[in-house]
């Protein structure tokens, strides 16, 4: 991929990471890779909006060089401190001695704590702008979408919003625009991204969307820092974010379990049949094997969660325990939850799950279901009925 003009004199100069599968540590599975989007605006003054992850810095600089000599860059806008967008700064800043870095106060502090460089830095706030010539860059602080330093950059003359990590997707592609790629993959990745990164920040997102809508910005293109650029009906992703942020759910269930000798798995399968029999769609995941990132995306809009585990050392198993710890951080609201599992002598898993659920701020809506060793036909029938009752609650 070379540079691509996305608006007159505005170029994508980022990098496509086809290979990455584990993102920030192992917290996010990027099954379809990702991109680090960096945008170059050529006017009387030259500005670069965001950089790329450090291993791709040279590639970004090559892309910039196809449009302008990097030494001519006047401003490098840092919308966000995180390394996948700022990692290119150290190499780039050596090549553009006159460039100023532009960002929020928290961005300046954060960048210093990453790179320990004293770059010429211009601190900006909401309402501040920089005149490039015919074009202007306006700044909108967006704290906790998704870090305290986060900011959106807007170019009114091109009706171009560059909201950094908002509205993105981890999706590597040779195309640059959302309307050019498979729509199922696009929306699946947009949802995964929201669920895994932005879910706990819904109240902040709702308010920011309201604030930006009141600004009456003309927006014809939304160019995020990951994935595809929205140019056809760009507000569709904003409307979708507004809905997700409200924690709107539908009558659907997600069963997440871990099993030792498949007894808890037998229960999970029969419970799922019961839920389905109630006419409610259900997904079933063995969390020791499943892709967490995908499970979280399925949970985003599902009204019902069921967590299952065998009892091991009087407690639940480690993968489901870790998963519940992750779920706690997302602060799910307006959900119906219960637990199930098989045990050998003294139980324990179901009680521990109930406690984890309460700690995550959710309530247990149906008494848990627990059987000793391998469930017999009567007990399996109880699993089915448990599932059906749960399904009825969700409708």
């Amino acid at each position: 991929m070379s540079s691509i003009e996305i608006k007159p004199q505005v170029y994508w100069v980022g990098a496509v990471d086809w290979a990455v599968r584990a993102f920030h540590g192992h917290t996010y599975t990027t099954q379809r890779g990702t991109t680090y989007n960096s945008y170059l605006i050529r006017d009387e003054k030259i500005a670069l909006v965001d950089t790329v992850y450090r291993p791709f810095a040279r590639e970004m600089i090559e892309h910039i060089s196809t449009v302008v000599d990097p030494a001519k860059i006047d401003y490098v806008i840092a919308n966000h401190v995180e390394i996948d967008h700022s990692g290119g700064l150290p190499m780039l800043m050596k090549l553009c001695p006159k460039a100023k870095v532009v960002g929020t106060q928290k961005c300046r502090d954060g960048l210093f704590k990453h790179y320990y460089e004293n770059w010429d830095f211009q601190i900006v706030k909401t309402g501040d702008s920089i005149k490039l010539g015919k074009r202007t860059l306006k700044f909108i602080e967006a704290p906790m979408i998704h870090w305290p330093d986060s900011m959106f950059t807007y170019c009114p003359e091109e009706q171009l919003l560059m909201p950094n990590d908002a509205f993105g997707q981890h999706l590597a592609s040779s195309e640059r625009f959302a309307d050019q790629v498979d729509q199922c993959a696009l929306w699946e990745e947009a949802k995964k991204y929201y669920a895994n990164i932005l879910w706990p920040l819904g109240t902040v997102i709702s308010r920011k969307i309201e604030e930006v809508v009141k600004m009456n910005l003309e927006v014809s293109v939304i160019a995020p820092s990951h994935g595809l650029i929205w140019r056809r009906n760009p507000m569709q992703i904003v409307q979708q974010y507004a809905a997700w942020a409200k924690q709107e759910t539908s009558a659907a269930a997600v069963i997440v379990y871990e099993t030792m000798w498949k007894a808890t798995e037998k229960m999970a399968r029969r419970i799922a049949e019961g839920i389905s029999d109630a006419g409610v769609p259900v997904k079933v995941y063995n969390i020791a094997e499943a892709d967490r990132t995908e499970v979280i995306a399925d949970m985003l809009q599902a009204k019902g969660f069921l967590f299952g585990s065998s009892t091991h050392d009087n407690d639940m198993l480690p993968a489901i325990a870790g998963f519940l710890e992750l779920v706690k951080g997302f602060k799910p609201r307006n959900r119906l939850v219960s637990a199930f599992g098989s045990y050998g002598w003294a139980g324990g898993a179901v009680k521990e799950i109930e406690e984890a659920v309460k700690e995550a701020g959710m309530e247990v809506s149906l008494p848990p279901l627990s059987f000793r060793f391998v469930p017999d036909q009567t007990e399996l029938q109880k699993c089915f009925l448990f599932g059906r009752s749960f399904g009825e609650l969700l409708k």
């Binding site: 928290k106 602080e141 704290p143 906790m144 305290p148 706990p200 920040l201 109240t203 902040v204 308010r207 602060k331």
Partner: protein, 52 residues
Amino acid sequence: MQKYRCTICNYIYDPAIGDPDGGIAAGTPFEKIPDSWVCPVCGAAKADFEKV
């Protein structure tokens, strides 16, 4: 005096300390902080705080 926690980043507002950098003097109860004040750590709104 009642402490409050930011539900976004878990920062604790302690009235005994206030938020001098944010213009809130030590000894200011949470209820007396203007609505335009934001969490000094993450920038979340006053409405995002809950009693500890």
